[in-house]
Symmetry: none
């Protein structure tokens, strides 16, 4: 199994942080490995304290189901097939900002989670992070 | 970074308690510091036991995102961008009653959370608490 | 059942805080009611963050068993009859600093817990708190 | 109150990681701020998964009591004054590897926690991390 290295995780974090600075946002950025376990994390100065947990949970959610965290949210609404799935796994986050990380072979090697602004910005910064993976 | 003192936290609690008495409500009142850690707490005689945790979580929520707790609730409804964010951070409270505390320089030094009546009264009492900060 | 009032809880906290200042210590001081639920709490400026939880757990421990928290510790040592009881009740504290509060009739109306210095000082300050109960 | 910056936290992590490589160890390295909240984290390739939580808890323990985590362990043994304190605060770690971080003025700005090898190596690497703080 391919597994993310710390060097790769740092590259993801740095790419995300650069995008955050371009956008003028203050972000919490987390990377987890294929086991869903934390690999790297940074909180930009002034970023929300509440986003520590959310960024990590977004990354875990993305890896737990191998899809973007926001995809879960489409299925977890009232009346939907995965209603309230968020209470499982010690808490999932089902809105955008969590994205699986794939290596050059297309294999999932982990996931990145970003929180600290609107969900659009969170997703944008996480997406920039994925492109930092070499 | 400015940090709330116990003298200030007591002033917030006392201002909130006076407003609670004016309204004839029975409130739990909590103050947290910039790290989201409890600084002062009182439960008025007869106030709900269930509001101990809620008042503390409201204060933490307000500090975790530097906004009033009720603002989160506008975004966390079904179909909203932060749906079910409440399951993160060991439990957030997204209805009114949590307000950041700012010193005379406008710097956030903590937050107050109030629970025990309607959310309108909870917010009213918390707001009175913020004005107790000198 | 007699129950501690907020006025009484504040008197306990204030008596404990005065003693803490006499000793030159920085304390977290918690009061719980007969149900073991938090009634009042203060953290002196500069007091340990880790003592927030410990002071509350000391008070709860004292009320849960109607004895000083340190009494539990005599029974919970390796080979003792209550070995590792500390892992129950979401965490008990079995060293000194938690004392039941009794009214003038001798009825238990709650408990006080103090943490922030040596266990001798913690107990001393908690004991001063019990004498604040009128 | 002084607060650690991300630039400082990264310098601490990097100094610790360099020392880990000198020792030939595989470490988890965490930095928390003055509120005990996570600021930066890295897990070296091959480092123990179980050390993610331990490194974070070591850092939190060091900040919660403003002392090295191993100092707590000297007091928390059977028969000691703080026996089983580890069950408080959602879990403390009372063996070496957590050290408060002080700025050039001597003010505590957070703490570093390291886990992944012997406690002697963990402490050594954490200590190297503290010297990375500029």
């Amino acid at each position: 199994m391919a597994e993310i290295t710390l060097s790769q995780a740092r590259a993801v974090v740095d790419a995300a942080a650069r995008r955050s600075q371009e956008l003028g946002t203050l972000m919490d950025i987390a990377v987890v490995d294929t086991g869903g376990n934390l690999k790297a994390f940074v909180r930009e100065d002034g970023a929300w304290l509440g986003s520590i947990d959310i960024s990590i949970k977004k990354a875990r959610t993305a890896r737990f189901f191998n899809m973007e965290s926001g995809e879960i949210g489409k299925l977890s609404q009232p009346g939907g097939p995965l209603y309230n799935i968020e209470v499982t796994n010690d808490g999932l986050v089902s809105f955008p900002g969590g994205i699986p990380l794939r290596n050059s072979d297309g294999a999932i090697v982990g996931a990145v989670g970003v929180s600290g602004s609107t969900v659009e910005n969170d997703h944008d910064v996480a997406d920039a992070g994925t492109r930092g993976l070499s």
